[in-house]
Amino acid sequence: MLDLTTQIGTLTLKNPIMPASGTFSEDLAQVFDLDILGAHVTKTITREKRSGNPTPRVCEVRGSMLNSIGIPSKGLDAFKTNVIPFYKNYDAPLIVSISAGSADEFASLCEDISVPGVAAIEVNISCPNIEEDGKAFAMRPSTTEAVMRKLRNATDLPLWAKLTPNTGETTEVAKAAEEAGADALVVSNTLLAMAIDINTKRPKLGNLMGGLSGPAFKPIALRMAYQCAKSVEIPVIGCGGISTIEDVIEYLIAGASAVQVGTATFINPPIMVKMVEGLESYLQSQGLHSVKQLIGSVVDQEASDGLVFMEAAP
C-alpha cells in the first residue's frame, strides 16, 4: 500500500499536493474533481470589499510571469455565504488565506473567519503593513513575530504563515513565525519584479511592479524552503515555480512536507491531478512506500554554517 499522506501539524492531508492562493477557485471544479487534492487554498481575502490593482495585471517574461492582481476581495460576509459552503461538498480540508493592513485588523479577521468548514488559516503576511512603512510583515523578524502573536491569540485553528522572498532574513523570519506560534510555513509568495515594454517605454504592469512566479522563480523558492526546513521544527509547505512532478519531488527532498502549485495551473489546468498520479508512480519506481520517506531526504552533509552565510553571499 502506497502512503501519500502527509502531516501538517494536526492536519493529515491525503496527499502533499494543493493549490497556491490566488491561482485556484471553485471554477476549477469544472476541470477535475477537486477532492483529488490534498487541500484547498482560497485566494486571499480581506474584511472589506476591494477592487484590486489597475490592468494590465499580468505580463509574461521568458517562461514565467509577473502579476500585480493585488487583493480584489468581495469581503468577509460574501466569502462566508458563498465560498465556504461550496467547499463543504468536499472532503479535502479548506485553508482560507487572509490579509490585512495592520496587526490588529489581521487578528480580528482571523478570529471572524475561524468558523466551521475552515480547517486552517493561511496568513498572507507577505502583504504590506500599512502601520509600519508599507513593508510586508514578513520582511522582518520583529514585525513577523508581532503580527503572528496577535494572530495566534485570535484563533485555535492551525495557522500557516506565508512568507515572502523579498527579505534578506529568511531563516530569522521563519524562526520568528515559529516562536510566535505558527503551525506551518508556506514558502513562498512571489518575488518583486518588473518588466518594461521597450517600444512604449511603459512598465508592462498597470501597477509598475509585480510578483514573479512560475519556473524562473523555482530555484529561489526552493532555496528558501530548504533554509526554512533546516531552521524550524514546524512543517514547511514549498511553493514557487512547481510545474512538473520532478519539481514536487525536489521540494519534498529539500524538506517540504507538502507543496502548493500556482502558475502551472494556468498553463495546464489539470496539472495537479497528473502530479498526484506522478507521485504515486515515482514512489513505486523507487521502491518507497511513503511520501514521508522523501521529505527532507536531501544529501547535504548538514552544511549548517553555510545556511546563514549563504544568505549574504552573491
Binding site: S25, D27, Q30, N67, F86, F266
Partner: protein
C-alpha cells in the same frame, strides 16, 4: 432599458465541464493579408459550444518564439458532425506568430469551451450584428445559430478596405443580409452607420443588437439602444492568464445600477450587456 437576464444561466456548479485536449491541425492558411484560418480536428466533447464562447490556446514554443501564457481566441466555427473547430485570427505578437507556424498534422493543446456566450431570446426575431475587422470571428457562430433558430439577421461589416472584409459570403450563405462598409469607400463612418441602422429600425425593426470590440460601434449602439429601447450584447476582450476565473487578471469595469462593478471577462463574459459595457 431592459438588461438581458444573463444571471439566469446556470453557474459553475451546474456548468458544463471544461476540457484540456490535444487536437490535430487540419489546416492553418492565410485568408487574406491579415488573417489566418485555423482548422482543428477536435473531439466531440469540446464541440458542445455556444456562439461567443472562446478557447484558451497553448501556443507552440520554438527557439525563436516562446510565449508562456495561453492565448484566448473566439470560436469562429464549431461543427460537431465533422469534428471540427475553427479559429480566425490575426497575427499580432509572439503568441499568434507561434500559432501561425502550426502545420497540418501537428498537435495543438486547447482548453475550453470557456465563458458565457450570446443570448438569442425567443422574442428576438430581427437580429442586427455590427462588427469591424477580426471582430467578425466572434460574431460568425452567432449567424449560424440565428439560422438554426430561424431568425432574421442583418450583418453590418466594416473594414479598412474590401480586401479586409471577411466572411461576407459566409454570412450570406447563412441567409443574412450583409451591408459592407469600408474606410476606403468612405462608408464606414459612425454617421453613416447610424443612419443605416435607423433605416433598418424604421423598416422592419430590430429586436436585438450584437457587437464586439470597437469603441466607436459600442457608443453608437448604446445610443441607438437607449433611444429605441433595443437590448444588445457585446463581446469584450481583456488580457488573460488562467481563462477560467481563478486569477482575476481579466477584469473590466461595467456600469450596473449606477455603480461601477468589475467583472471577469473570462467567466462573467466575454459576452456582456451592451448598456453596461464601458469602452476603453
Amino acid at each position: 432599458m431592459s438588461n438581458i437576464a444573463l444571471d439566469t444561466k446556470p453557474d459553475f456548479e451546474l456548468a458544463k465541464p471544461i476540457h484540456e485536449v490535444e487536437c490535430t491541425i487540419i489546416s492553418n492558411e492565410p485568408v487574406n493579408g491579415e488573417y489566418r484560418l485555423l482548422v482543428l480536428n477536435a473531439p466531440s466533447k469540446i464541440l458542445d459550444c455556444e456562439p461567443g464562447q472562446f478557447f484558451h490556446l497553448l501556443c507552440p514554443v520554438s527557439d525563436t518564439l516562446q510565449p508562456y501564457l495561453r492565448r484566448p481566441m473566439s470560436i469562429y466555427g464549431y461543427y460537431p458532425d465533422k469534428g471540427e473547430l475553427h479559429f480566425l485570427y490575426k497575427v499580432t505578437g509572439e503568441g499568434t506568430s507561434a500559432i501561425a507556424t502550426l502545420k497540418a498534422g501537428d498537435n495543438f493543446n486547447v482548453l475550453g469551451p470557456l465563458g458565457r456566450g450570446f443570448d438569442i431570446l425567443p422574442n428576438w426575431q430581427n437580429l442586427l450584428l455590427v462588427a469591424r475587422g477580426v471582430g467578425l470571428a466572434t460574431l460568425a457562430p452567432l449567424a449560424l445559430e440565428a439560422r438554426r433558430l430561424n431568425r432574421k439577421l442583418t450583418a453590418i461589416c466594416s473594414a479598412r478596405s474590401d480586401q479586409f472584409l471577411l466572411s461576407l459570403d459566409y454570412f450570406r450563405e447563412l441567409g443574412a443580409t450583409v451591408i459592407p462598409l469600408t474606410d476606403e469607400a468612405g462608408t464606414s463612418s459612425v454617421e453613416n452607420m447610424h443612419s443605416i441602422i435607423e433605416g433598418l429600425i424604421a423598416d422592419e425593426g430590430i429586436d436585438a443588437m450584437y457587437t464586439c470590440g470597437s469603441n466607436r460601434i459600442l457608443k453608437l449602439l448604446q445610443t441607438v439602444g437607449k433611444e429605441h429601447n433595443i437590448p444588445g450584447q457585446i463581446a469584450l476582450e481583456q488580457q488573460m492568464a488562467c481563462g477560467i476565473g481563478m486569477c482575476q487578471c481579466c477584469v473590466r469595469a461595467f456600469n450596473r445600477n449606477g455603480a461601477i462593478v468589475n467583472e471577469r471577462v473570462c467567466r462573467e463574459g466575454p459576452v456582456f450587456d451592451l448598456q453596461e459595457a464601458i469602452g476603453c
